[in-house]
Protein backbone atom coordinates (compact mmCIF):
# COMPACT_ATOMS: atom_id res chain seq x y z
CA UNK A 1 0.00 0.00 0.00
CA UNK A 2 1.20 3.51 -0.78
CA UNK A 3 1.83 5.86 2.13
CA UNK A 4 -0.87 8.31 3.17
CA UNK A 5 -1.49 10.85 5.88
CA UNK A 6 -4.29 10.11 8.33
CA UNK A 7 -6.50 12.52 10.16
CA UNK A 8 -9.66 12.10 12.14
CA UNK A 9 -12.47 14.53 11.42
CA UNK A 10 -14.41 15.38 14.54
CA UNK A 11 -17.14 17.40 12.84
CA UNK A 12 -18.59 17.67 9.32
CA UNK A 13 -16.92 21.01 8.58
CA UNK A 14 -13.50 19.57 9.33
CA UNK A 15 -14.21 16.56 7.11
CA UNK A 16 -15.44 18.66 4.19
CA UNK A 17 -12.54 21.06 4.50
CA UNK A 18 -9.94 18.28 4.62
CA UNK A 19 -11.48 16.51 1.64
CA UNK A 20 -11.90 19.69 -0.41
CA UNK A 21 -8.38 20.95 0.26
CA UNK A 22 -6.80 18.29 -1.90
CA UNK A 23 -9.50 18.27 -4.57
CA UNK A 24 -9.23 19.79 -8.01
CA UNK A 25 -11.99 20.46 -10.50
CA UNK A 26 -10.71 17.85 -12.94
CA UNK A 27 -10.45 15.07 -10.34
CA UNK A 28 -13.11 12.45 -10.61
CA UNK A 29 -14.17 11.73 -7.04
CA UNK A 30 -12.77 8.23 -7.19
CA UNK A 31 -9.28 9.53 -7.98
CA UNK A 32 -9.32 12.48 -5.58
CA UNK A 33 -6.12 12.56 -3.52
CA UNK A 34 -8.08 12.77 -0.27
CA UNK A 35 -10.61 10.04 0.49
CA UNK A 36 -13.05 9.66 3.39
CA UNK A 37 -12.71 6.53 5.53
CA UNK A 38 -15.90 5.08 6.99
CA UNK A 39 -16.06 1.27 7.30
CA UNK A 40 -13.05 0.93 5.02
CA UNK A 41 -14.23 -2.33 3.49
CA UNK A 42 -13.92 -1.00 -0.06
CA UNK A 43 -11.27 1.68 0.39
CA UNK A 44 -8.63 -0.31 2.31
CA UNK A 45 -9.17 -3.30 0.02
CA UNK A 46 -8.66 -1.19 -3.12
CA UNK A 47 -5.67 0.60 -1.60
CA UNK A 48 -4.03 -2.76 -0.94
CA UNK A 49 -4.66 -3.62 -4.60
CA UNK A 50 -3.19 -0.24 -5.63
CA UNK A 51 -6.43 0.59 -7.46
CA UNK A 52 -7.09 3.56 -5.18
CA UNK A 53 -4.10 5.70 -4.24
CA UNK A 54 -5.16 8.52 -1.92
CA UNK A 55 -2.39 10.63 -0.36
CA UNK A 56 -4.67 11.56 2.53
CA UNK A 57 -7.26 9.60 4.50
CA UNK A 58 -9.91 11.52 6.40
CA UNK A 59 -11.47 9.26 9.03
CA UNK A 60 -15.10 10.37 9.28
CA UNK A 61 -16.19 7.75 11.83
CA UNK A 62 -16.45 10.31 14.66
CA UNK A 63 -19.30 11.91 12.64
CA UNK A 64 -21.36 8.81 13.42
CA UNK A 65 -22.46 10.59 16.60
CA UNK A 66 -24.80 12.68 14.43
CA UNK A 67 -24.96 10.68 11.20
CA UNK A 68 -26.00 7.18 12.21
CA UNK A 69 -29.60 7.49 13.40
CA UNK A 70 -32.21 5.00 12.14
CA UNK A 71 -35.51 6.87 12.21
CA UNK A 72 -38.69 5.24 10.91
CA UNK A 73 -41.52 7.77 11.10
CA UNK A 74 -45.17 7.80 10.11
CA UNK A 75 -44.55 9.45 6.75
CA UNK A 76 -41.22 7.91 5.88
CA UNK A 77 -37.79 6.78 6.92
CA UNK A 78 -34.55 8.60 7.54
CA UNK A 79 -31.24 6.75 7.71
CA UNK A 80 -27.96 8.34 8.74
CA UNK A 81 -25.20 7.63 6.23
CA UNK A 82 -22.87 6.29 8.91
CA UNK A 83 -25.38 3.76 10.24
CA UNK A 84 -23.90 0.27 9.98
CA UNK A 85 -25.46 -2.18 7.52
CA UNK A 86 -25.93 -4.75 10.29
CA UNK A 87 -27.77 -2.34 12.58
CA UNK A 88 -30.22 -1.27 9.88
CA UNK A 89 -30.81 -4.88 8.76
CA UNK A 90 -31.62 -5.90 12.36
CA UNK A 91 -33.93 -2.96 13.12
CA UNK A 92 -37.52 -4.04 13.87
CA UNK A 93 -39.11 -1.02 12.21
CA UNK A 94 -37.10 -1.55 9.01
CA UNK A 95 -37.88 -5.26 8.88
CA UNK A 96 -41.60 -4.56 9.35
CA UNK A 97 -42.18 -1.58 7.07
CA UNK A 98 -39.25 -1.82 4.63
CA UNK A 99 -38.40 -5.51 4.22
CA UNK A 100 -36.78 -4.74 0.86
CA UNK A 101 -34.24 -2.56 2.66
CA UNK A 102 -33.66 -4.98 5.55
CA UNK A 103 -33.16 -7.94 3.23
CA UNK A 104 -30.97 -6.11 0.72
CA UNK A 105 -28.62 -5.39 3.62
CA UNK A 106 -28.91 -8.79 5.29
CA UNK A 107 -28.10 -10.63 2.06
CA UNK A 108 -25.02 -8.50 1.32
CA UNK A 109 -21.44 -9.41 2.23
CA UNK A 110 -20.71 -11.20 5.54
CA UNK A 111 -21.67 -10.48 9.13
CA UNK A 112 -18.21 -9.01 9.77
CA UNK A 113 -18.33 -6.70 6.75
CA UNK A 114 -21.89 -5.60 7.55
CA UNK A 115 -20.69 -4.69 11.05
CA UNK A 116 -18.03 -2.44 9.54
CA UNK A 117 -19.62 -1.03 6.40
CA UNK A 118 -21.82 2.05 6.53
CA UNK A 119 -24.84 2.85 4.36
CA UNK A 120 -23.10 5.78 2.69
CA UNK A 121 -19.99 3.77 1.96
CA UNK A 122 -22.10 0.89 0.71
CA UNK A 123 -23.78 2.90 -2.04
CA UNK A 124 -20.34 4.26 -3.03
CA UNK A 125 -18.88 0.73 -3.26
CA UNK A 126 -16.76 0.24 -6.40
CA UNK A 127 -17.33 -2.42 -9.03
CA UNK A 128 -15.99 -5.96 -8.59
CA UNK A 129 -14.92 -6.11 -12.28
CA UNK A 130 -11.85 -8.35 -12.10
CA UNK A 131 -10.02 -6.22 -14.68
CA UNK A 132 -10.70 -3.04 -12.72
CA UNK A 133 -9.39 -4.69 -9.53
CA UNK A 134 -6.20 -6.01 -11.18
CA UNK A 135 -3.85 -3.16 -12.01
CA UNK A 136 -1.69 -5.42 -14.18
CA UNK A 137 -4.36 -4.86 -16.85
CA UNK A 138 -3.47 -1.56 -18.51
CA UNK A 139 -6.73 -1.27 -20.41
CA UNK A 140 -9.41 -0.17 -17.98
CA UNK A 141 -11.35 2.97 -18.85
CA UNK A 142 -12.28 3.42 -15.21
CA UNK A 143 -8.66 3.46 -14.02
CA UNK A 144 -7.06 4.94 -17.16
CA UNK A 145 -9.61 6.88 -19.26
CA UNK A 146 -9.19 6.09 -22.94
CA UNK A 147 -7.13 2.93 -22.38
CA UNK A 148 -9.88 0.53 -23.47
CA UNK A 149 -11.80 -2.19 -21.66
CA UNK A 150 -10.29 -5.62 -21.03
CA UNK A 151 -13.65 -7.02 -19.95
CA UNK A 152 -15.38 -6.28 -23.24
CA UNK A 153 -13.90 -9.33 -24.96
CA UNK A 154 -12.44 -10.91 -21.84
CA UNK A 155 -14.02 -13.13 -19.24
CA UNK A 156 -17.23 -11.20 -18.70
CA UNK A 157 -19.60 -13.67 -17.03
CA UNK A 158 -20.11 -11.33 -14.05
CA UNK A 159 -20.55 -8.16 -16.11
CA UNK A 160 -23.53 -5.95 -16.84
CA UNK A 161 -26.16 -6.26 -19.56
CA UNK A 162 -28.03 -3.00 -18.83
CA UNK A 163 -26.70 0.55 -18.84
CA UNK A 164 -23.57 -0.57 -20.65
CA UNK A 165 -21.49 1.45 -23.12
CA UNK A 166 -18.73 0.48 -25.52
CA UNK A 167 -16.34 1.91 -22.93
CA UNK A 168 -17.37 -0.09 -19.86
CA UNK A 169 -19.55 -3.04 -18.82
CA UNK A 170 -18.57 -3.15 -15.13
CA UNK A 171 -21.44 -4.19 -12.85
CA UNK A 172 -22.60 -2.03 -9.95
CA UNK A 173 -22.10 -4.59 -7.16
CA UNK A 174 -24.30 -3.37 -4.29
CA UNK A 175 -27.72 -4.50 -3.07
CA UNK A 176 -29.02 -1.73 -0.79
CA UNK A 177 -28.94 0.84 -3.61
CA UNK A 178 -31.56 -1.13 -5.53
CA UNK A 179 -33.93 -0.81 -2.56
CA UNK A 180 -33.23 2.92 -2.34
CA UNK A 181 -33.79 3.61 -6.02
CA UNK A 182 -36.97 1.52 -6.06
CA UNK A 183 -38.45 3.46 -3.15
CA UNK A 184 -37.71 6.93 -4.63
CA UNK A 185 -35.17 7.65 -1.89
CA UNK A 186 -33.61 11.06 -1.45
CA UNK A 187 -29.89 11.37 -0.74
CA UNK A 188 -28.70 14.18 1.53
CA UNK A 189 -25.22 15.49 0.72
CA UNK A 190 -23.04 17.67 2.94
CA UNK A 191 -20.42 19.87 1.32
CA UNK A 192 -18.74 23.25 1.49
CA UNK A 193 -21.96 25.10 0.76
CA UNK A 194 -23.90 23.21 3.42
CA UNK A 195 -26.41 20.46 2.81
CA UNK A 196 -28.19 19.64 -0.45
CA UNK A 197 -30.66 16.90 -1.35
CA UNK A 198 -31.42 15.14 -4.59
CA UNK A 199 -33.16 11.97 -5.77
CA UNK A 200 -30.96 8.94 -5.11
CA UNK A 201 -31.58 8.03 -8.77
CA UNK A 202 -29.37 10.98 -9.72
CA UNK A 203 -26.38 9.86 -7.66
CA UNK A 204 -24.91 7.18 -9.93
CA UNK A 205 -23.94 7.79 -13.56
CA UNK A 206 -23.98 5.19 -16.30
CA UNK A 207 -20.49 4.80 -17.78
CA UNK A 208 -21.14 6.32 -21.22
CA UNK A 209 -17.87 7.73 -22.50
CA UNK A 210 -16.59 8.57 -18.98
CA UNK A 211 -16.59 5.36 -16.91
CA UNK A 212 -14.13 6.97 -14.48
CA UNK A 213 -16.89 9.32 -13.31
CA UNK A 214 -19.17 7.05 -11.32
CA UNK A 215 -21.32 9.47 -9.36
CA UNK A 216 -22.45 13.10 -9.35
CA UNK A 217 -20.81 13.57 -5.95
CA UNK A 218 -18.00 16.11 -6.03
CA UNK A 219 -14.70 15.82 -4.18
CA UNK A 220 -15.29 17.38 -0.76
CA UNK A 221 -18.88 16.21 -0.61
CA UNK A 222 -20.12 13.50 1.75
CA UNK A 223 -23.37 11.59 1.87
CA UNK A 224 -24.87 12.39 5.26
CA UNK A 225 -28.30 10.70 5.12
CA UNK A 226 -30.96 8.93 3.06
CA UNK A 227 -34.68 9.58 3.23
CA UNK A 228 -37.40 7.23 1.99
CA UNK A 229 -40.94 8.59 1.59
CA UNK A 230 -43.87 6.41 2.67
CA UNK A 231 -43.92 2.86 3.96
CA UNK A 232 -43.47 -0.29 1.91
CA UNK A 233 -44.40 -3.34 3.99
CA UNK A 234 -45.16 -5.29 0.80
CA UNK A 235 -41.65 -5.37 -0.58
CA UNK A 236 -38.98 -7.99 -1.24
CA UNK A 237 -35.34 -8.26 -2.21
CA UNK A 238 -34.55 -11.42 -4.14
CA UNK A 239 -30.92 -12.25 -4.90
CA UNK A 240 -29.69 -15.03 -7.20
CA UNK A 241 -26.00 -15.88 -6.87
CA UNK A 242 -23.40 -18.60 -7.32
CA UNK A 243 -23.38 -19.41 -3.59
CA UNK A 244 -26.25 -19.42 -1.12
CA UNK A 245 -24.56 -16.83 1.10
CA UNK A 246 -21.73 -14.28 1.05
CA UNK A 247 -21.63 -13.64 -2.69
CA UNK A 248 -22.43 -10.81 -5.06
CA UNK A 249 -25.61 -11.02 -7.11
CA UNK A 250 -25.70 -12.56 -10.55
CA UNK A 251 -29.13 -11.00 -10.69
CA UNK A 252 -31.30 -9.43 -8.03
CA UNK A 253 -34.60 -7.60 -7.87
CA UNK A 254 -35.99 -5.08 -5.42
CA UNK A 255 -39.78 -5.08 -5.70
CA UNK A 256 -42.27 -2.98 -3.76
CA UNK A 257 -46.02 -3.10 -4.34
CA UNK A 258 -49.12 -1.36 -3.10
CA UNK A 259 -51.97 -3.81 -3.64
CA UNK A 260 -55.58 -2.97 -2.78
CA UNK A 261 -58.40 -5.46 -3.31
CA UNK A 262 -56.23 -7.48 -5.66
CA UNK A 263 -55.33 -4.51 -7.85
CA UNK A 264 -51.77 -3.18 -8.02
CA UNK A 265 -51.99 0.56 -7.24
CA UNK A 266 -48.29 1.28 -7.26
CA UNK A 267 -45.30 -0.83 -8.22
CA UNK A 268 -41.55 -0.41 -7.97
CA UNK A 269 -38.99 -2.65 -9.65
CA UNK A 270 -35.22 -2.22 -9.47
CA UNK A 271 -32.50 -4.56 -10.70
CA UNK A 272 -29.10 -5.48 -9.32
CA UNK A 273 -26.19 -7.60 -10.52
CA UNK A 274 -27.11 -6.95 -14.13
CA UNK A 275 -26.54 -3.21 -14.62
CA UNK A 276 -23.71 -0.68 -14.47
CA UNK A 277 -25.64 1.42 -11.93
CA UNK A 278 -28.54 0.85 -9.51
CA UNK A 279 -31.24 0.21 -12.12
CA UNK A 280 -34.88 1.25 -11.99
CA UNK A 281 -37.12 -0.65 -14.44
CA UNK A 282 -39.77 1.99 -15.00
CA UNK A 283 -41.19 0.41 -18.19
CA UNK A 284 -41.80 -2.75 -16.21
CA UNK A 285 -43.48 -0.83 -13.39
CA UNK A 286 -45.86 0.87 -15.83
CA UNK A 287 -47.20 -2.52 -16.95
CA UNK A 288 -48.13 -3.44 -13.38
CA UNK A 289 -50.09 -0.38 -12.35
CA UNK A 290 -53.86 -0.84 -12.24
CA UNK A 291 -53.56 -4.54 -13.06
CA UNK A 292 -54.43 -7.76 -11.27
CA UNK A 293 -51.42 -10.04 -10.86
CA UNK A 294 -51.01 -13.29 -12.73
CA UNK A 295 -48.12 -15.26 -14.18
CA UNK A 296 -48.60 -13.91 -17.69
CA UNK A 297 -48.35 -10.36 -16.40
CA UNK A 298 -45.20 -11.26 -14.45
CA UNK A 299 -43.66 -12.59 -17.65
CA UNK A 300 -44.52 -9.42 -19.62
CA UNK A 301 -43.09 -7.28 -16.86
CA UNK A 302 -39.90 -9.33 -16.75
CA UNK A 303 -39.53 -9.10 -20.54
CA UNK A 304 -40.01 -5.33 -20.40
CA UNK A 305 -37.39 -4.99 -17.65
CA UNK A 306 -34.76 -6.58 -19.90
CA UNK A 307 -35.97 -5.24 -23.27
CA UNK A 308 -32.83 -3.12 -23.71
CA UNK A 309 -30.38 -5.67 -22.32
CA UNK A 310 -27.22 -6.35 -24.31
CA UNK A 311 -25.33 -9.51 -23.46
CA UNK A 312 -21.75 -10.32 -24.35
CA UNK A 313 -19.92 -13.62 -24.71
CA UNK A 314 -20.26 -14.97 -21.18
CA UNK A 315 -23.01 -12.94 -19.53
CA UNK A 316 -26.04 -13.37 -21.80
CA UNK A 317 -27.40 -15.93 -19.35
CA UNK A 318 -28.10 -13.01 -17.01
CA UNK A 319 -30.93 -11.86 -19.25
CA UNK A 320 -32.87 -15.12 -18.91
CA UNK A 321 -31.93 -15.42 -15.24
CA UNK A 322 -32.83 -11.79 -14.53
CA UNK A 323 -36.30 -12.20 -16.01
CA UNK A 324 -36.96 -15.20 -13.77
CA UNK A 325 -35.72 -13.27 -10.75
CA UNK A 326 -38.09 -10.39 -11.53
CA UNK A 327 -41.06 -12.72 -12.04
CA UNK A 328 -40.34 -14.61 -8.83
CA UNK A 329 -39.80 -11.43 -6.81
CA UNK A 330 -43.16 -10.12 -8.03
CA UNK A 331 -44.82 -13.40 -7.08
CA UNK A 332 -43.26 -13.23 -3.61
CA UNK A 333 -44.31 -9.63 -3.11
CA UNK A 334 -47.91 -10.27 -4.18
CA UNK A 335 -48.31 -13.31 -1.95
CA UNK A 336 -46.42 -12.14 1.13
CA UNK A 337 -48.48 -11.67 4.28
CA UNK A 338 -48.28 -8.21 5.76
Amino acid sequence: MRPFSYQRATDPDMAVQALSAAAAANNPLTQAPAQPLAGGTTLIDLMKLDVMRPAAIVDINPLARDWSAIEPKDDGLRLGALAKMSDVAAHDGIQRNYPVIANSLKLAASAQLRNMATLGGNVMQRTRCSYFRDVSYENCNKRHPGSGCAAMDGVNRMHAVLGVSDQCIATYPGDFAQALIALDAIVEITGKAGTRSMPFAQLHKTPGSTPDIETTLQPGELISAFAVPGRWPRSVYLKARDRQSYEFALSSAAVALDVQDGTIRDARVALGGVATVPWRAREAEALLKGQKFDEALAQRVADAAFADARGRRHNSFKIALGKRVVARALQQAVTMEI
Binding site: S5, A18, I44, A109
Partner: protein, 204 residues
Protein backbone atom coordinates in the same frame (compact mmCIF):
# COMPACT_ATOMS: atom_id res chain seq x y z
CA UNK B 1 -3.24 -24.05 16.71
CA UNK B 2 -0.98 -24.01 19.73
CA UNK B 3 -2.56 -20.67 20.68
CA UNK B 4 -5.67 -22.20 21.97
CA UNK B 5 -6.89 -25.70 21.96
CA UNK B 6 -4.37 -28.39 21.11
CA UNK B 7 -2.04 -27.53 23.97
CA UNK B 8 -3.29 -25.65 26.97
CA UNK B 9 0.14 -25.34 28.47
CA UNK B 10 1.68 -23.51 25.52
CA UNK B 11 -1.34 -21.22 25.19
CA UNK B 12 -1.05 -20.04 28.76
CA UNK B 13 2.70 -19.69 28.60
CA UNK B 14 2.32 -17.32 25.73
CA UNK B 15 -0.47 -15.42 27.39
CA UNK B 16 1.60 -15.01 30.56
CA UNK B 17 4.47 -13.76 28.48
CA UNK B 18 2.26 -11.24 26.70
CA UNK B 19 0.83 -9.99 29.97
CA UNK B 20 4.38 -9.10 30.98
CA UNK B 21 4.95 -7.17 27.80
CA UNK B 22 1.66 -5.35 28.20
CA UNK B 23 2.48 -4.39 31.77
CA UNK B 24 5.54 -2.49 30.70
CA UNK B 25 3.58 -0.59 28.08
CA UNK B 26 0.62 0.33 30.22
CA UNK B 27 -0.73 3.82 29.62
CA UNK B 28 -3.42 5.37 31.76
CA UNK B 29 -6.87 5.77 30.22
CA UNK B 30 -6.69 9.52 30.50
CA UNK B 31 -3.51 9.63 28.47
CA UNK B 32 -5.16 7.47 25.81
CA UNK B 33 -8.10 9.85 25.46
CA UNK B 34 -5.88 12.90 25.38
CA UNK B 35 -3.74 11.39 22.64
CA UNK B 36 -6.76 10.71 20.46
CA UNK B 37 -8.01 14.28 20.72
CA UNK B 38 -4.60 15.76 20.12
CA UNK B 39 -4.16 13.67 16.99
CA UNK B 40 -7.59 14.35 15.63
CA UNK B 41 -7.14 17.39 13.43
CA UNK B 42 -3.52 16.83 12.43
CA UNK B 43 -2.55 15.28 9.11
CA UNK B 44 0.86 13.88 9.79
CA UNK B 45 3.78 13.37 7.43
CA UNK B 46 3.13 9.93 5.89
CA UNK B 47 6.84 9.13 6.10
CA UNK B 48 6.87 9.35 9.89
CA UNK B 49 5.60 6.76 12.36
CA UNK B 50 2.53 7.64 14.40
CA UNK B 51 1.99 7.04 18.10
CA UNK B 52 -1.15 5.08 18.86
CA UNK B 53 -2.56 3.33 21.90
CA UNK B 54 -4.56 0.20 21.22
CA UNK B 55 -6.71 -1.36 23.92
CA UNK B 56 -6.22 -5.10 23.40
CA UNK B 57 -7.68 -7.83 25.62
CA UNK B 58 -8.13 -5.40 28.47
CA UNK B 59 -4.70 -3.82 28.31
CA UNK B 60 -3.42 -0.59 26.80
CA UNK B 61 -0.62 -1.08 24.28
CA UNK B 62 1.36 1.94 23.19
CA UNK B 63 2.71 1.51 19.67
CA UNK B 64 4.65 3.49 17.12
CA UNK B 65 3.27 2.49 13.73
CA UNK B 66 3.16 3.37 10.07
CA UNK B 67 -0.27 4.85 9.25
CA UNK B 68 -0.84 1.96 6.84
CA UNK B 69 -0.75 -0.63 9.64
CA UNK B 70 -3.94 -2.65 9.98
CA UNK B 71 -5.18 -3.94 13.32
CA UNK B 72 -4.21 -7.42 12.11
CA UNK B 73 -0.60 -6.42 11.41
CA UNK B 74 -0.35 -4.49 14.67
CA UNK B 75 -1.57 -7.57 16.57
CA UNK B 76 0.63 -10.07 14.79
CA UNK B 77 3.80 -8.14 13.98
CA UNK B 78 4.06 -5.72 16.89
CA UNK B 79 2.14 -7.23 19.78
CA UNK B 80 3.07 -10.80 18.78
CA UNK B 81 -0.54 -11.87 19.24
CA UNK B 82 -0.41 -14.34 16.37
CA UNK B 83 -3.72 -16.06 17.07
CA UNK B 84 -5.54 -13.84 14.57
CA UNK B 85 -4.54 -15.22 11.18
CA UNK B 86 -3.77 -13.52 7.88
CA UNK B 87 -5.60 -15.48 5.22
CA UNK B 88 -6.58 -13.35 2.24
CA UNK B 89 -5.74 -9.93 3.75
CA UNK B 90 -8.69 -8.53 1.75
CA UNK B 91 -11.66 -9.13 4.04
CA UNK B 92 -12.85 -12.21 2.20
CA UNK B 93 -11.91 -15.19 4.38
CA UNK B 94 -12.61 -14.18 7.99
CA UNK B 95 -9.42 -15.74 9.45
CA UNK B 96 -8.48 -12.37 10.99
CA UNK B 97 -11.84 -11.85 12.75
CA UNK B 98 -11.61 -10.02 16.09
CA UNK B 99 -14.11 -8.17 18.22
CA UNK B 100 -13.99 -4.40 18.30
CA UNK B 101 -16.33 -3.37 21.07
CA UNK B 102 -18.95 -6.12 20.85
CA UNK B 103 -18.81 -6.32 17.04
CA UNK B 104 -16.98 -8.93 15.00
CA UNK B 105 -14.93 -7.29 12.26
CA UNK B 106 -12.17 -8.29 9.87
CA UNK B 107 -8.99 -6.83 11.34
CA UNK B 108 -7.19 -6.90 7.96
CA UNK B 109 -9.41 -4.07 6.64
CA UNK B 110 -9.37 -2.05 9.86
CA UNK B 111 -6.66 0.58 10.19
CA UNK B 112 -5.01 0.49 13.60
CA UNK B 113 -5.29 4.28 13.79
CA UNK B 114 -9.05 4.06 13.26
CA UNK B 115 -9.33 1.52 16.09
CA UNK B 116 -7.69 3.78 18.63
CA UNK B 117 -9.64 4.07 21.86
CA UNK B 118 -11.80 1.00 21.17
CA UNK B 119 -11.80 -2.35 22.96
CA UNK B 120 -10.18 -5.03 20.79
CA UNK B 121 -10.66 -8.66 21.79
CA UNK B 122 -8.66 -11.41 20.10
CA UNK B 123 -8.65 -15.18 20.50
CA UNK B 124 -5.94 -14.73 23.14
CA UNK B 125 -8.35 -12.69 25.25
CA UNK B 126 -11.24 -15.18 25.35
CA UNK B 127 -10.17 -17.61 28.05
CA UNK B 128 -10.27 -16.62 31.70
CA UNK B 129 -7.44 -17.90 33.91
CA UNK B 130 -7.28 -21.65 33.31
CA UNK B 131 -10.77 -21.93 31.85
CA UNK B 132 -11.36 -21.97 28.11
CA UNK B 133 -14.23 -19.91 26.77
CA UNK B 134 -17.30 -22.11 26.15
CA UNK B 135 -16.89 -21.63 22.40
CA UNK B 136 -13.26 -22.74 22.50
CA UNK B 137 -14.27 -25.84 24.49
CA UNK B 138 -17.13 -26.52 22.08
CA UNK B 139 -14.75 -26.46 19.10
CA UNK B 140 -12.57 -29.08 20.85
CA UNK B 141 -15.53 -31.19 21.91
CA UNK B 142 -16.96 -31.23 18.39
CA UNK B 143 -13.68 -31.65 16.49
CA UNK B 144 -14.61 -28.44 14.66
CA UNK B 145 -11.33 -28.03 12.80
CA UNK B 146 -8.69 -29.90 10.90
CA UNK B 147 -5.71 -27.70 10.03
CA UNK B 148 -6.86 -25.03 12.47
CA UNK B 149 -5.82 -22.00 10.45
CA UNK B 150 -9.32 -20.53 10.25
CA UNK B 151 -10.20 -21.57 13.81
CA UNK B 152 -9.37 -18.40 15.77
CA UNK B 153 -11.46 -16.39 13.30
CA UNK B 154 -14.24 -18.98 13.39
CA UNK B 155 -14.34 -18.88 17.19
CA UNK B 156 -14.33 -15.09 17.44
CA UNK B 157 -17.03 -14.90 14.79
CA UNK B 158 -19.06 -17.62 16.52
CA UNK B 159 -18.94 -15.83 19.89
CA UNK B 160 -20.38 -12.70 18.27
CA UNK B 161 -22.85 -14.73 16.21
CA UNK B 162 -24.34 -16.15 19.41
CA UNK B 163 -24.46 -12.78 21.16
CA UNK B 164 -26.16 -11.18 18.15
CA UNK B 165 -28.94 -13.75 18.50
CA UNK B 166 -28.10 -15.39 15.18
CA UNK B 167 -27.40 -18.91 16.47
CA UNK B 168 -30.96 -20.07 17.11
CA UNK B 169 -30.98 -22.79 14.44
CA UNK B 170 -28.63 -24.44 11.99
CA UNK B 171 -29.79 -22.38 9.02
CA UNK B 172 -29.09 -19.12 10.87
CA UNK B 173 -25.70 -20.37 12.07
CA UNK B 174 -24.70 -21.27 8.51
CA UNK B 175 -25.92 -17.94 7.12
CA UNK B 176 -24.36 -15.77 9.82
CA UNK B 177 -21.08 -17.72 9.88
CA UNK B 178 -20.66 -17.53 6.09
CA UNK B 179 -17.96 -14.87 6.41
CA UNK B 180 -15.55 -17.46 7.81
CA UNK B 181 -14.18 -19.79 5.18
CA UNK B 182 -12.82 -23.23 6.16
CA UNK B 183 -10.80 -24.88 3.41
CA UNK B 184 -10.84 -28.18 5.31
CA UNK B 185 -14.64 -27.96 5.15
CA UNK B 186 -15.18 -28.65 8.83
CA UNK B 187 -18.48 -26.83 8.52
CA UNK B 188 -20.81 -29.51 9.96
CA UNK B 189 -18.70 -29.74 13.12
CA UNK B 190 -18.38 -25.95 13.35
CA UNK B 191 -22.17 -25.67 13.25
CA UNK B 192 -22.39 -28.33 15.95
CA UNK B 193 -19.88 -26.46 18.11
CA UNK B 194 -21.78 -23.18 17.81
CA UNK B 195 -25.01 -24.98 18.71
CA UNK B 196 -23.39 -26.53 21.77
CA UNK B 197 -21.86 -23.30 23.07
CA UNK B 198 -24.79 -20.99 22.35
CA UNK B 199 -26.96 -21.75 25.41
CA UNK B 200 -24.00 -21.53 27.78
CA UNK B 201 -22.87 -18.18 26.34
CA UNK B 202 -26.39 -16.73 26.44
CA UNK B 203 -26.73 -17.90 30.03
CA UNK B 204 -23.67 -15.75 30.73
Amino acid sequence: MSDKSSSRASAFDRRAFMAGVAGSALVPMTARAATQDANAPVAQDPALPVEVTLHVNGKDKRLSIDARTTVLDALREQLKLTGSKKGCDHGQCGACTVLIGDRRVVSCLTLALAAEGQEITTIEGLATDDRLHPMQQAFIDNDAFQCGYCTPGQIMSAVACVKEGHANNEADIREYMSGNICRCAAYPNIVAAVKQAAPEIMKG
